[in-house]
Amino acid sequence: MPHLDAAYNLARWLLGGRSEAEDATQDAMLRAYKFFNSFHSGDARAWLLQIVRNCCYTWLQKNRKWVDVDELDDESVPREKDTPETLAIRVSDRERLTRALEQLSPQFREILVLRELEGCSYKEIATITSRPMGTIMSALARARHQLRVLLTDPAHKEARLEL
């Protein structure tokens, strides 16, 4: 079963819980199997991850965990502070990174997960997230900026939790 780990990893980061991620992955795999005829050639991983993403977003909407942000909006994010801490995020600080990633909106989270954990190219990310190729770089830049803010500004972290 190719790309099962990739599918599960994306679902896990989008949905949070293990059992939700398993259900969404199973659902996506069944759909992929059913609609395999519509896949002719090209990037099978991107094609599958697109299905996984759709399943996850459907789940988020159904369970009202959906934050309706069409645009990747970071107007409200303050400028990150250039403290020494900002410059040296402790390497391998798994818990802190996990918490910060979980506080990002799904749109920012997915783009970071796809790029940094899954190693997808901009083209693949554009396919998976149905965004124009030209917007991927700036979306990634903003996602990284937000992640760094969440990592270095605990006060802001609390504010994000309220949303």
Binding site: I89, S121, R144
Partner: protein
């Protein structure tokens, strides 16, 4: 302070998405622009932190099985192609059966069992890959046993043997020769022991022990279940575990 390049090229450079000319241009720019080189340094630190924090979640071992079982089988395919596929499958199975009958014969049960033991050793080896050892992690037999409910058509006997230096670590579903079996995982010092359990009719041939690929295995039958323990512990250790499980 800002720099136009930091907005247009920095992330594409970081992600290896610039073409050769663009990449060379940005490289040159980095030599003279302190804003961009500082910004790049920050991005690289973040990337390294993400890379080194093991944030990737691999699919649990049981999930693959669950999905495979939920996929529509060939019987759902009512097309002519589906029926032909069955003819091919049945024919291949007949040929394989004939060949193995000739090779091993009905009297040579030992060979057949050896194949099962080798499959058990393979399953144990597979489980040692990162993230595959346990689907349910618990030292409590009352947590591990109910975990198998609904996943198997039998309830495997589960006993914690921590008092005998074989602590129960958890369990998982596994597949041996195409059959779904329960796998209980016990610890022995720093070693792992997989005990595979499945339902069985009385089968005198499921009995014996040996070594393959450096792993010990031993098989026995008890109360309508057949067991096979596999590990890299000593033959004496694995025999001791067998005796303990036989007593329970």
């Amino acid at each position: 302070m800002s720099c136009e390049f930091a907005h247009t090229s920095l992330h594409a450079y970081l992600d290896g998405e610039l073409d050769a000319a663009g990449s060379a241009d940005f490289n040159q720019h980095l030599q003279t622009c302190s804003i961009c080189s500082a910004a790049l340094g920050k991005e690289e630190t973040l990337r390294r932190a993400l890379e080194e924090s093991r944030l990737y979640s691999r699919a649990p071992a049981g999930l693959k099985l669950r999905i495979q079982e939920s996929l529509p089988g060939p019987s759902a395919d009512k097309g002519v192609r589906g029926r032909w596929r069955w003819v091919v499958v049945v024919a291949a199975a007949l040929i394989a059966a004939t060949l193995s009958w000739r090779q091993f014969g009905p009297t040579d049960r030992q060979s057949y069992d050896r194949a099962a033991m080798f499959a058990a050793v393979d399953a144990h080896l597979r489980s040692l890959q990162p993230g595959h050892l346990l689907d349910v992690q618990s030292t409590d037999q009352h947590t591990v046993k109910p975990w198998f409910d609904g996943k198997l058509d039998f309830a495997p006997p589960v006993h914690d043997l921590a008092a005998n230096d074989f602590p129960l670590l958890g369990g998982r579903l596994d597949i041996i020769e195409g059959r779904t079996v329960a796998a209980l995982v016990y610890g022995r010092r720093k070693h792992f022991i997989s005990v595979f359990v499945e339902k069985s009719a009385p089968d005198a041939s499921w009995n014996g022990s040996g070594q393959t690929q450096g792993y010990q295995w031993t098989a026995w039958i008890k109360d309508g279940f057949r067991f096979c323990a596999v590990s890299d512990v000593s033959a004496a250790d694995i025999e001791e575990l067998k005796q303990l499980l036989m007593q329970h």
